[in-house]
């Protein structure tokens, strides 16, 4: 991983897990994502995508959450 480049949750493959680095943005959407438990350091698994590629199904903190790719693109991941 190149330093300074950030990978978002949108780009990981189905079935893979990743660790949340941060949620970008200061708006209500960012806040709701944090409130739903997508906080820095938490491990998320991409369970699947809807038939047309959007939205995504995630697993975190022992439950399932669906968000659109636009929202997933704002969730950066820690390298490694």
């Amino acid at each position: 991983m190149v330093a300074g480049m950030s990978v978002s949750l949108e780009s990981i493959a189905v079935g893979h897990t990743a660790t949340v680095a941060d949620v970008l943005g200061d708006d209500a959407v960012a806040l709701r994502l944090l409130e739903m438990g997508l906080t820095p350091g938490i491990v998320v698994r991409l369970v699947g995508r809807a038939p047309l590629g959007d939205p995504l199904e995630l697993e975190l903190r022992g439950y399932r959450l669906s968000i659109r790719r636009a929202e997933a693109a704002r969730i950066t991941l820690t390298a490694g």
């Binding site: 906080t39 439950y63 669906s66 968000i67």
Partner: protein
Amino acid sequence: MPQPSAPPSHLTVALLGNPNTGKSTLFSALAGIPTRIGNYPGVTVEEKVGRFTHRGMTIDLVDLPGSYSFTPQSPDEQVAIDVLRGRMADVSKPDCVVVAVDATNLERNLYLASQAMELGLPMVIALTLSDVAAAKGITIDDAALASRLGCPVVRVVAPTGDGVATLRERIVAAPDTPFPRPPDLSPHLSAIDGSRPQAAREAIARYAWIDRATAGIVSRSAPARRPLDERIDGWLTHRLWGTLVFIAVMLALFTSIFQLAAPLMDLISAGMDGVSAWAESVLPEGAIRSLIVDGVLAGVGGVVVFVPQIALLFLFIAILEGCGYLSRAAFLMDRLLVWAGLSGKSFIPLLSSFACAIPGIMAARTIENRRDRLLTILVAPLMSCSARLPVYLLLCGAFIPNVAFGASWLRLPAVVLVCMYAVGVIVAALVASVLSRTIFRGPPQPFVMELPGWRWPQPAVVLERVREAAWSFLKNAGTLILAMSVVIWALGSYPKPVLPAAADLTEAEQQGEALRQSFLGRAGRLIEPVVKPLGWDWRLGCAAVASFPAREVVLGTLGVIYNLGDVDPGEEEGATALVRRLKAATWDGTDRKVFTVPVALSLMVFFALCAQCASTLVIIGKETRSWFWPIVTFSYMTALAWLAAFATYQLGTALGW
């Protein structure tokens, strides 16, 4: 003057919790059937209050809308906060708050609970779905949790009633219990970048606090095999299998609504016919009998007949919601609906509207987002409902040439019929996408939706949904529909016709003459300049006006107005007689035929897009709590219907159809 020393005999208790935590089941287990259901003043959020007594104490249990946090993102969540802070005019400030916390999803549920701990109210945590958690290998040390949070924690399995008695004890004792300690977020806050907004820092700090509060008291033993609900989920949200199952579920749902409701609807119709016949036999002939039979009973029957469809639809929705499929359906359909400016949650309301817009609009209650909900309600009446079908069938059968279209088995009338359904869907998509980019333009609406675990729907909750939907429909639409039907009856019956004394008219001809001379007939002639560009004569205009209460009325009106007795669209003989009469109809004083292919098409397109349904408009008014939106719906749909009918007629005439 209340005695300060006397123990209180009445408690107001708020029931708070995330959506999908078994909160409704817990409400039923504690309080049974709600004593009060309505809307909170000024908002479309449902207010549900139940009452029970325990140890001589009367407890009013206020079921708050499911919420994820105290920074509200929907009117529902705002209401929850307002009630808890004592800012809701209708409800007294709660004496105690019960927080339903899903044991299978402890961390995220404790987020809301930790905010509730800051309210300065006595609090009891009900650890719901403990049995499901146990089956998943999750064990929670509830005693340790209670001591860390500083409030009682009661393990409940609401469907079986386990723990409910203990919960009642804790509620009654709550006023004497110390308040929970508000969570101390400061050590966590100091570790977070100070440039972020306070709310975001607090959210991160709160989860850090939760992680520490639950450390060591939740243990997960990995189940021997992949849990069942995970495997089900894998299939039902799969790209191919998920789509196929989805189509199968929807087909099953709608065929059963039609199939199962049909006998009940026939039964109600027959019952209403019986009542009408009885009323006709006991009442003396005259205005009173006509008012009761043609006005009141016809109007009431027209409303009651929808009840089976509404009850069935809500039964299926409640079951699908209870087991968790509804969120999967929204998940599967979201992308398609985003193109039209809607969201996945609009899917069920729109699909339901093909049966009838009324349950469809009521089903839009499941959409939390106000903008998406309003947009869905505004376009739902464009879906071709079952009341349009008889109109399409009559006109397609009578005036569209029965020739092959492409293939020999594919006939033109069937193609036109499909086109009528397509017109509604396409126009709805266009209207929604235009509105969402203009009047309803705003920041992007987030789609952050929980996919709850699979579980069995609770019969008590399901039946309550059905009962509530059927009753609110009967109560709210019934009164106004009744009034509307009486008005249309009066307009069609008065003033009494002056018949030429010597003329030897048949009864049907007399009825036709009476209608011509009535206010309704005069209105039809008055609006003739408006409907002429659509290719219609004054009688068609009159039928359109008279079908304002309900589209299907148009067949009966056409029958009367073209000098034929009242035609029941279900009777094959009557319909063919009507067809013969319509085929013979000519413009007043000429032998130019009224009904040509372009006229039939323009009439069908008009009925596909118009808002000729008083019940729908009443329900829109009821659901949006405003007269503004039904007026908007009626205006835009009528304008669109006229323009599309005009274009259809002019194009058809120009092409020489």
